[in-house]
Every structure is written in C-alpha cells, then in structure tokens.
C-alpha cells in the first residue's frame, strides 16, 4: 500500500535516528546498529509510544465526552470551566490525582496491591497495538487479531480480583468476586456473538472483517449478535446497568475502594481504555470500521486521515450509546445479571450464529446471485 502508515512512519523515524547515531560507534557496532533488527526494534518502540500517547489522549477525551453527554441527559452541563467547554478538565483532574499521596493499607498484601493497577493498565492499553484503526494503522496484521484482542481483554478480572483480595477490605473482596463471576459469565455470549461475525466474514483478522463489510455492515444481518455483543460489552466494561463490582450504593467503591491517588487514576484510566476498546470492537465488528457506505459522497471519504476520523466518530457515537444507557437504567443484581447472561444472552448468541450461517448459505444459493467470495 502506497499510503504512509503509522508503522512505516515509525520505521522511517527509527531508521533516520539510527543512521545518525551510528556515526559515533566503531564499524562493527555501526553495522549492527543499522541492521534491520535494531531498526525494527526501535521502530516498534516509537510506534508503541505514539500509540500509548494517542490512546491516553483518546481515553481522557472519552471521559470528557461521557461527562458532557451524561450532563445533558441529566439536565446539567458537565465539566465546563477548564479549557474550552471543559476539554482540559480531565487533565486537571489527572494532575490533581498525580499529586496525591499513594498509600497502602497496613494489612494489604504488598505485591498484589501494587501490581494489580499496573497490570490492569498494561493489559488494557496493549490491545491498542493490535486493533486496526484504519488501513495500515495497526501494529501487526496477525491472522487471529480478533481472538488475541478478546483474550487480552479478558485478562482484567484476574487483576481486579488480585487487587481486591490484596487490599484486605471486605467491600473490595465482594466486589472482586462479583467482577470475576460477571466477566467470566459474559465471555461466553461475547465469544458466541463474535463467532457469528466470524462465520459471516470468514476470518479472525480484524482488517479482513472490516474489509468484508464493504457491501453491507454486519449489524444489519447480525442485529441479534450486535445486541448480545453490546450487552456483553456493558458487562465486561462494568458499566451501568452492570456495574455491580463497583456498586457504590452497597460496596462504597467496589474493588478499588482502597486505592487512592494515582493508583485509582490507573484503574479509572484503564477502565476508560477498556470502554474505548469495547466501542472500537463494536465499530470493527458491526459498523464497518473505517469505511463508509458507498453512497456517501466521496468528498467525505477522500480527505487525509478520513478513515481514522470516521472510525473515531463511530467509536465515540457507540460510546455515547453506552452513556445513554447509563443515564436511563438502574443497576441490576448479581443473580439477575448472571441469569440474563446465561439464560438470555447465550441462546440469543447461538441463534445469531445460526442466522449468520443462514446468511452465508443464502449467499451461496445461485438464485440469489451467489457471492462466492464470502468465507475463506
């Protein structure tokens, strides 16, 4: 592909830097430094830093977006004083949290207590490395990107439970256990809904899945799967109405009750990273990724970085939907949540797999104008 991608840009920067640094070293080292391996390594590093910065900024913008949206749903304004329309408010909040003392309860387990926020943060951010934001804007095009993303996404309950247990607090422990139960329960419908997408697209590669949606976006045939996926994502992201692990009415702050200052900020930021990842997955799997329908005038899709722009617009709108749900529904109970997951979502997801298979079969029927390109 001739367009500049994020990775090729990082590669160029790395090569440029190494080529200029190499002069100071003797010849054998010089040769090794300018070799492809080192360039690739540095390029990956630069790529990671750019990605981290972009994801963090997007995350903080997401918090702003939620605050503003939620404010309007509730007949109030949301953040509005720091920066234009409160855009910088979350940076200010972050600074405030950064300046706060981080402390550990005396009877908390040291390793688990310190490790869990970091691990939670890392496992959340690292998903960005494999999500294709636009054509060419991903780190690696592995054949099983989708599965990898979901696997990393489901690490979280482990670290949540670790941190909750380690902080030696009853509320935290209850919250952690709820979190583990809830996330494990909702892995199943999510994966089944994803299976429907995979059946329809014939690939586990996210880029391929997006490209397969060039004729129609998958939400139309897979509406049931979309509902299941959205519900499951709400549960995985622990948002109202499924935010039982941090149900503040009974559990104070749930599993992160004992965390304060920057540690809390880590948890909170990682939460929003996960919200962003969830919204992006919805866009990738069901809403056509960075593509727009063909009847859209080409002026809207041809400007520079149009793919990323439309992609982010979609992701933010999907997250707006999550905010809308948060503004209108109360939180449900653990047993009801599990019942909803196993009794309603799993059958619906299975049904949607069958529907996807039917759609594929219909494509192969000659009377409907067989489109044999489906499937891999």
């Amino acid at each position: 592909m001739s367009t500049i991608t994020l990775f090729s840009a990082s590669d160029a920067i790395a090569a440029f830097l190494l080529a200029h640094i190499a002069y100071v070293f003797p010849a054998p080292v010089k040769g090794w430094i300018t070799s492809g391996d080192v360039v690739l390594g540095l390029a990956s590093l630069i790529f990671g830093v750019i990605l981290l910065g972009a994801s963090m900024i997007n995350t903080i913008m997401l918090i702003w977006w939620e605050r503003k949206l939620l404010g309007r749903f509730m007949d109030r304004r949301g953040a509005m004083h720091v920066g234009f329309a409160g855009l910088l408010q979350n940076f200010a909040d972050g600074l405030k949290l950064f300046r706060k003392d981080t402390f550990r309860p005396s009877k908390a387990d040291s390793l688990g207590f310190w490790m869990s926020p970091t691990a939670y943060m890392v496992t959340s951010v690292v998903i960005f490395g494999i999500l294709p934001i636009s054509t060419g804007w991903n780190g690696g095009s592995l054949p099983l990107t989708l599965l990898l993303a979901l696997v990393i996404f489901s690490f979280a309950p482990l670290f949540i439970f670790l941190g909750a247990w380690a902080s030696n607090n009853k509320y935290a422990l209850i919250g952690g256990m709820r979190s583990a139960a809830q996330m494990i329960a909702y892995e199943v419908p999510i994966l089944l809904a994803v299976v429907a997408v995979v059946v329809l697209s014939g690939s586990f590669n996210l880029t391929t899945i997006v490209l397969e949606q060039r004729n129609y976006w998958f939400w139309a045939p897979l509406f049931l799967a979309l509902i299941v996926f959205l519900t499951g994502m709400l549960a995985e992201m622990e948002r109202i109405p499924f935010d039982l692990p941090e149900a503040e009415a009974e559990l104070v702050e749930g599993w992160n009750t004992e965390y304060g200052g920057m540690l809390f900020a880590f948890f909170m930021l990682a939460d929003y990273v996960r919200y962003l990842v969830g919204s992006i997955l919805v866009v990738l799997l069901f809403l056509g990724g960075w593509t727009l329908p063909t009847y859209v005038p080409s002026a809207l899709t041809s400007f520079p970085l149009a793919g990323i722009f439309w992609f982010m617009v979609k992701a933010y709108l999907v997250f707006g939907g999550f905010v809308w749900v948060r503004a209108s529904l109360p939180r449900i109970r653990t047993d009801q949540l599990l019942r909803l997951g196993w009794m309603r979502m799993v059958p619906l997801a299975l049904l949607s797999v069958v529907l996807a298979a039917l759609v594929v079969a219909a494509h192969c029927l000659p009377v409907l104008g067989c489109v044999p390109s489906m499937g891999g």
């Binding site: 309007r72 007949d75 109030r76 209108s328 529904l329």
Partner: protein, 263 residues
Amino acid sequence: MAEPAPSPPGEAPGTEEKPLLWVTRPLATAARQFAKSLWRPSTVIYPFERLEDPKFRGEVAVASGRPIGVGEIWDNYRGVHALNINTCISCNLCAFSCPDVCIEMVTVPGGDPKHPKKCPQIDYGKCSFCGFCSDACPEGCLSMTTRYELTAHKREEMVYSPAKMFEVYKSKLPMNPIRVERPKNEDQILLDPPICIGCNACARDCPTQCITMLDIPKTTPKPGEKVPKRIWKEPVINDSDCVRCGTCISVCPKDCLFWGTRQ
C-alpha cells in the same frame, strides 16, 4: 388491626400501564431530556450567573421550561442583616430574641458619654438566620437582605460589627419586605409604687424616651417610715411609644417595675 383493603382503582398509578418493551421508556425519557437541555440546561453556573440578577431569572425560566422563574421572589430571602445605625434605639430586643445568643450589643460612636449608644453585633458563626431579631426590631432598623455569601478565612471575620452591617445597609440590597404581624400584647410594664425610690434610672435608660418622671404627691408615708426630704417622683410610661423592651425593668435597682396587665 388495619383493614386489609385491596388497592382501589386509580390509587396505584402506573401499575395498569405496562411497559411496551424492557427499557424503551426510560431510554426515551432520557433522550427527550437530552434534546431539551441540549441548548440550555436548567442548572446555574453559580458564580457567573446569579439568581438575584433579575435579567438572569427570566432567562433561566424561559430556557428550562419552568413554570415560574428561578428565585422569582428573591427579595424575601433571609440573608445577612442590614443595620441602620442612625435609627437604632439600642433597645436590646434583637439580642433578647436571638435563640442562638449570637447577638451582642456593642458600643458605637454617637451616644453621649454617660449613656453610650449600643448596637447589635452578630456572630454569623452561630447565627441560624431565623429572622427573630428583625421580627422583633421595633424600629425596623435591623432587616435581613438577600446577601448570602458569608465565606471567611477566620472565625473573627464571621463576626459582623454594627459598622459592617451598616455598610450592608448602605449597599442598597433588597430588604426583606415581609413585615410580621405582631399580636396585640396586653402586657405592659407596671409599677409597684410603694417600692419606687424615684431614682430616674428607668427614664434615663429608656431607648424610646417614653418614660417621664412625674411629681407624685406622696401624702401618706407608712407609719414609722423615714420620709426623704425631696420631692417624690415616679415613672409614667407613655404606652403608645413603649416598645416593651424591658430595659427599665432590668435597670431598676429596687425591682419595682414588672410585667402585668392593667385592669
């Protein structure tokens, strides 16, 4: 035992209207509010938009679809007191009526040296803004305004001296226009004449100058009593001017004044 009555029709609203779908109605309600408040939510950006600003009241009322304006009758608010030092008669009634004992009468310049003028000083750290003091004020010089911002860095700053409250008065804030209906009070200050020594303390300290010492012909001294060699005087209280502050009772050295009803 309470009679267990089945819920009559119409007494349990909402039960008859079943939701169409799970969550559609709450979602629609929130969305409607979103559309309504998109341009102008009904919250107030407090330090910049103020309810006491008349222009602003209308704006909020129109924008948020409220039936009445925000803070429409703001002037009745019971806020910081305004004190008109010039008309204060030092009657002490405000201090007596204060349930929190936060009013202290302090000397202000303006009185004659023998009888210094005293005006109320209010400790807002204790004040509960009940308005009993301004209700009790017979001259209407202590009144409550719409000022409500009382933050201070030190406790001493919460104590408002008469001069400070006079500045509040001079700032022309809207005064509380509510005048309290005073019940007719038949109790008066009465005199127990045999005990009175005519010392003039009550007339001297009366804030409204409604006590005059009149010559009383003291014709029949009690047997064995030593008759002072001076003219007997007794206080006579002009009842229409009396504000019933009780100052005369408290200064009377012989406790010969008391509350009662004239037959």
